[in-house]
């Protein structure tokens, strides 16, 4: 029972990490908060509902990845391109929040405010194995596999490829990066594409596990991932992963101890504690986190 709960927590945590990494990527390279990110994550679930009706889910995954990425490009164009100065930080956060409001409202107008069931005719996903007395559904394994595969691919992209080197250079300093001949706009667009695509896939995974796409998760699950990003350390991808798993398992343990009603607070209380004792987050954070210190 306990093992089952912890596994549940790890599955939730991997989804938190997927969304938090997107926040972290944007804040790490551009030092800006993208509030539309959590709504793109929410839309991912609804694109899933729309696309699984005529596509096998493996193909739907690719469609969702691309659609999320395109939404990310739109976010960059509408809410970030004009506000590139350091003073634009708050303005960009507000603009992306306004965009998030519009996205949520459009989803409400198309699919209504109630959760929409996501039907997947696959008995294989619902069957499970039993290890150490805990039942593991194939669905959970698939979610874990997709989340960790995407995070591993992102890690390889950032560390081993030319684009990854450019993204890391941009994180160090926008001005020096552009002096070195890096196309700042293209790299910025790539960052937004990747982060939003990951969020949209996160939305698919959450909808798959819950059996329904809900328009509420943008403001609950999505903003919690924002807290997790700060818990791990701003702009630090390892931090987002560890923070996500930590909060996922903590929440599962709280359910186990019968504190289910306080679960929504876990991430935020952890954030307060981290800010008091480790102001830079668990991993010290990226360059911009150091910049945040007074």
């Amino acid at each position: 029972m306990l093992a089952g709960q912890i596994l549940n927590g790890i599955v939730t945590g991997s989804m938190y990490a997927l969304v938090a990494i997107g926040f972290s990527l944007v804040i790490g390279t551009l030092d800006k908060l993208n509030f539309a990110h959590s709504e793109v994550f929410m839309v991912g679930g609804f694109i899933a509902v729309a696309s699984v009706s005529f596509l096998p889910w493996q193909l739907a995954l690719i469609v969702i990845f691309l659609a999320g990425g395109l939404l990310g490009l739109a976010t960059e164009f509408l809410a970030f391109r004009r506000f590139q100065t350091a003073e634009g930080k708050v303005t960009a956060a507000l603009a992306s929040m306004a965009l998030g409001l519009i996205i949520t409202d459009l989803v409400h107008k198309v699919w209504g405010t109630e959760p929409v069931p996501l039907k997947l005719e696959s008995p294989w996903l619902q069957s499970g194995h039993t290890f150490f007395g805990a039942t593991v559904l194939n669905l959970q394994l698939v979610i874990l596999a997709i989340a960790f595969l995407l995070m591993a691919l992102l890690h390889i992209l950032l560390q081993k490829t030319r684009m990854g080197r450019q993204i890391r250079a941009l994180a160090e300093s926008t001005v020096s990066a552009s002096l070195l001949g890096i196309n700042v706009r293209r790299v910025t667009q790539t960052v937004f594409f990747l982060s939003s695509a990951l969020a949209a896939v996160g939305g698919l995974l959450v909808a798959l596990r819950g059996g329904a796409a809900s328009s509420e998760i943008g403001l609950s699950f999505g903003l919690k991932s924002l807290a997790i990003m700060a818990i791990g350390g701003m702009g630090d991808l390892r931090g987002a992963l560890v923070g996500g798993l930590l909060i996922g398992v903590l929440e599962a343990l709280m359910f186990q101890m019968g504190l289910g009603r306080l679960v929504e607070m876990t991430a935020w209380v952890t954030l307060f504690a981290v800010l008091i004792f480790l102001p830079n987050g668990l991993f010290g954070g990226g360059i911009h986190a150091r910049e945040q210190r007074a």
């Binding site: 306004a98 403001l219 903003l223 009603r261 307060f272 210190r293």
Partner: protein, 272 residues
């Protein structure tokens, strides 16, 4: 009917001013809804369960709210940048969960029985807060606020205690929001934790941005227009989030400097 609308306009103006006070020190707060809830519940408990009259209950509720703001906000106010935004979102979620789980104040079912606030009391509150903000805009404190907002490092080098100035703004905002909350509760006579969700706080911030953050009249204008317009245009009420978001986006896009370009010090001196 028209009285109701004017009342909610007054409440929203108070909330917008509470956001404006925080914004003047260069931070954004998405916790004004929760500070409103604290004021509402604290004053409600004092009037309903202890038989206090409205005015002292409101003031005590507002003080409690600013003390809570100081305690919770301090760790984040010491840091620069986006941490305060995160903490205020956290306050909103934690506040909601706590309100829903304390049986003494009704839990999820809500808390009722308050009475006594009227349109007049809101006007008096708006008058007092407006006068205080006007006095503030002519005081030395305003210049410290300006310095901290424009460049906190320079401000610190000039001997301004940046975290304390930020704390004054944040607690002042919590105080005003709690006054609005107390009046709201005593007018509606019944509130539930879900009356104060995160969207309320988001909307209030956007009122201020829409009206312009250059001075206190912008917040007044934004809150008034955005409260009254949806009442008279049904389409606007139906598409409220979209229209709202679109208006904000367009304003921000066509004023590239952003509405957040406060009046510069030089232009203020020229006027004076």
């Amino acid at each position: 009917m028209i009285g109701d609308q004017l009342f909610f306009t007054g409440i929203n103006v108070l909330l917008a001013w509470s956001v404006y006070l925080v914004l003047m020190t260069g931070s954004l707060s998405f916790a004004q809804g929760t500070f409103m809830a604290i004021g509402c519940y604290a004053a409600g408990v004092l009037t309903v369960k202890f038989g206090w009259s409205l005015l002292p209950a409101t003031l005590v509720g507002a003080l409690l709210s600013s003390v809570i703001a100081a305690v919770v906000g301090w760790p984040a106010l010491r840091l620069r940048g986006v941490y305060l935004i995160l903490v205020t979102i956290g306050i909103t979620f934690c506040g909601r969960v706590l309100l829903e789980n304390v049986e003494y104040i009704g839990g999820v079912a809500g808390f009722g029985g308050m009475a006594g606030a009227s349109l007049t009391s809101v006007f008096i509150a708006v008058g007092f807060v407006g006068a205080a903000l006007f006095w503030l805009s002519r005081s030395p404190l305003q210049r410290s606020f300006d310095a901290v907002r424009e460049d906190d490092r320079v401000a610190a080098s000039l001997g301004i205690n940046v975290p304390v100035v930020r704390l004054i703004g944040f607690c002042g905002g919590a105080f005003i929001a709690a006054v609005a909350g107390s009046l709201f509760g005593h007018y509606m006579s019944f509130v539930r934790p879900e009356s104060f969700d995160i969207l309320l706080s988001v909307y209030v911030v956007l009122y201020v941005v829409l009206g312009g953050v250059n001075n206190m009249w912008g917040a007044l204008l934004g809150a008034t227009v955005m409260t009254l317009l949806p009442e008279y245009f049904r389409v606007l009420a139906q598409w409220r989030p979209s229209v709202f978001g679109l208006a904000i986006l367009l304003m921000l896009l066509f004023k590239p400097q952003g509405l957040l370009s406060f009046r510069t010090l030089s232009s203020r001196w020229k006027k004076a």
